[in-house]
Symmetry: C2
Subunit: 409 residues, 2 copies
């Protein structure tokens, strides 16, 4: 691999057709009507996917809990329903060429019901389980020889203390399922803190606390016919467990580590039989890369691709779940910086948006249409350029102003 290929690769991974593959509608009918993709969940990921579907001539349908959900505000084909109801899911999926997800919360029995009814569920229930059950994910990655933090299942406080005896403090307790955006993850520095977390009665695992140098993410796509594509590896900056900033490509990343990350992403997509996007969150450490988390959907670490890559992650996900040829994941600028906009005290984003647009006419803004609440992700901004520090400063300044109405750090 030369340097160019290494940093954004398009490769053919092993062909493995999912069982649902043969269940899509007859080819004759497909010829005369546009493809239909249904996305379960109507948050900002579905909203941005809706924008990508427009140009591709795809009829895009979302399953929303409420008519004012982020994606429901903009999507012509919004179905109201409950993602935990098999009836709602089956009614929603009718007529869809592919059913996909903006979150990982649809329970396994309901996913199985969709598959048994013959719908093309992408990714499959089996693949999604790896994002729903962190113990199953850790066990499978270990089986695949993928480097991860040390971990153990937790039944009692004694299990945690025994684990800490081996790894030292602090340790990380994680909910086996239901964790999202840092909720469900607790860094514990004492047996008292462990007892507090255990008191909630959740199913937990314990992981070693990794003294990482920084966090990286690799985003790949895979289609049912085995075509794979990888975006350039990015650095992610988390704060309080929430993705705060993304730098693309990850500055100063050694070529061999970028190649490791990309090969890992593509290999995991194949071995876990992922259809659509797979985001792999990584710890960069002095002894290589460790896998932190997986997501099988568009991901916050890939929002920069809307303007920063030739094919956005949202377009790529649609192409993959429809088994269309994947698009070029190459960057459109030397450096891209993305900063999330977190809600502040002022409910009016648009007033502040005017200031930001006047100050930086080349900045790109995505607002999610969500009511502002302190700390909630309500949008993101992206700056492109040839100098990463300058792009990052532009993105930071705009995100800060949209959140707080001030340019002070």
């Amino acid at each position: 691999m030369n340097d160019q290929e290494l940093r954004s690769a398009q490769v053919s991974t092993a062909v493995r057709t999912s069982p649902a593959e043969s269940a899509s509608r007859p080819a004759a009918e497909a010829a005369s009507r546009p493809p239909v993709v249904g996305m379960i969940g109507a948050g900002q990921l579905a909203r941005m996917t809706a924008a990508a579907a427009i140009g591709l001539g795809i009829r895009f349908r979302v399953l929303a809990a409420a008519p004012d959900d982020s994606a429901a505000q903009v999507c012509a084909d919004t179905v109201l329903g409950d993602y935990r109801s098999t009836d709602d899911l089956l009614a929603f999926a009718a007529g869809c060429d592919a059913v996909t997800f903006d979150h990982e919360h649809v329970p396994q029995p309901q996913l199985a019901a969709l598959e048994q009814a013959g719908f093309a569920v992408r990714p499959s229930a089996a693949a999604l389980r790896m994002t729903q059950d962190k113990l199953a994910m850790r066990a499978r990655l270990t089986e695949l020889g993928v480097p991860c933090p040390r971990f153990e299942p937790v039944a009692t406080a004694g299990d945690v203390l025994a684990f800490a005896d081996q790894t030292g403090w602090p340790v990380v307790l994680k909910a086996v399922s239901g964790g999202y955006d840092g909720r469900g993850v607790w860094v514990c520095r004492s047996s008292a803190e462990v007892a507090e977390v255990l008191s909630h009665g959740l199913r937990l695992l314990v992981e070693e606390f990794v003294p990482f140098e920084r966090e990286l993410a690799v985003l790949v796509a895979r289609s049912p016919s085995g075509h794979g594509a990888a975006y350039p590896v990015v650095e992610t900056v988390q704060r309080d467990g929430i993705c705060h900033e993304v730098l693309a490509p990850a500055p100063g990343l050694a070529d061999y580590l970028a190649e490791d990350a990309i090969m890992l992403g593509l290999r995991l997509a194949r071995d876990l039989d992922v259809i659509g996007l797979l985001a792999v969150e990584l710890f960069q450490t002095g002894y290589g890369l460790l896998v932190n988390e997986l997501a099988m959907r568009p991901h916050n670490s890939g929002h920069w691709t809307i303007e920063g890559a030739r094919t956005s992650q949202f377009e790529q996900h649609l192409r993959a779940v429809l088994n269309w040829p994947l698009g070029a994941p190459t960057a459109t600028a030397p450096c891209v910086a993305m900063a999330n906009v977190l809600g502040g005290d002022d409910p009016d984003l648009h007033g502040k948006l005017n200031h930001v647009m006047a100050a930086d006419p080349a900045l790109k803004v995505q607002l999610y249409g969500k009511p502002v609440r302190p700390g909630r992700k309500v949008g993101h901004v992206t700056a492109l350029g040839s100098d990463l520090a300058a792009a990052l400063e532009r993105a930071r300044r705009a995100a800060r102003y949209l959140a707080t109405g001030t340019e002070e750090a």
Copy 2:
């Protein structure tokens, strides 16, 4: 102006607030709700504007004739109605912060009714008249000293013959109103051909036939507060009166002509009090630039800006009609080629799209969701790169394949 500024300028034009300006809703209410833009017409221009509205957090509403109109397929807030009905227009406009257009067919009395009711009609009825009445447009441009083809109103065949005696044959007859995409324009080479056109009983004007070297277009935006922005000047290639290809920037265009075109566009936007986009179609001749046509909406000559400019024409139009600061109109690649996809015999575009995507993963495609009919614009493709000939060949090849299912020229 240095070369950079000349080819894509952001300038402040004279401030001139339209009368409708003061009619938008109270600021207090605006703080707690998203801005609403209503677009009259639901063709592909409204469809692509809908995609741009999503990221800006704008509630976008379209007035559609039928539920399966191009934009109605993708827009959550579609109102069915007749753009010639004042009642339908007033009902549609209720709650909109700005009302704008995907075509120029709303009659003047209905536009006046909207303005009198206090809606922010952008562009205004007075400005739009210049796109609805070619005689009024020619008279106004002449008054402004803008170079145009020689023209005369036509009452009788004798008027045309007298005009041809001065300019020579052929002459160009144009419908004073209702012309679109070459329909309503006739190149006449004899008095018999003139008689044939006159027999249809349309109101006509006659223009000299301009032996142009090529056709150019300049696209500018202007906001109510007088902020202006100009995109790089492009070359347009028409075939049978329909835009076929666009090359951005216009290859080999002398700097002084690029500057002439941009200054002309910005000046016309100011002098005609345009709010939103103004597209100026130009003839390049041995003796300078002549204005051919005007449009005050997103324009086919600007489709390349979706990926090829930092701010797409659709985003720019929304920003302008809301009186938001305009976005950077700078190009994102050295060369961009756009080719329209015209319908062929095969109604299935998506089958052919798969071939095109596999052949060229970096190509960008926009499909309009319109039933395929021979010769109808059903989509466009855009190729970006550093070599214009290569980009043009990629766009041509893909457009040809989507239209015909073959790669033969």
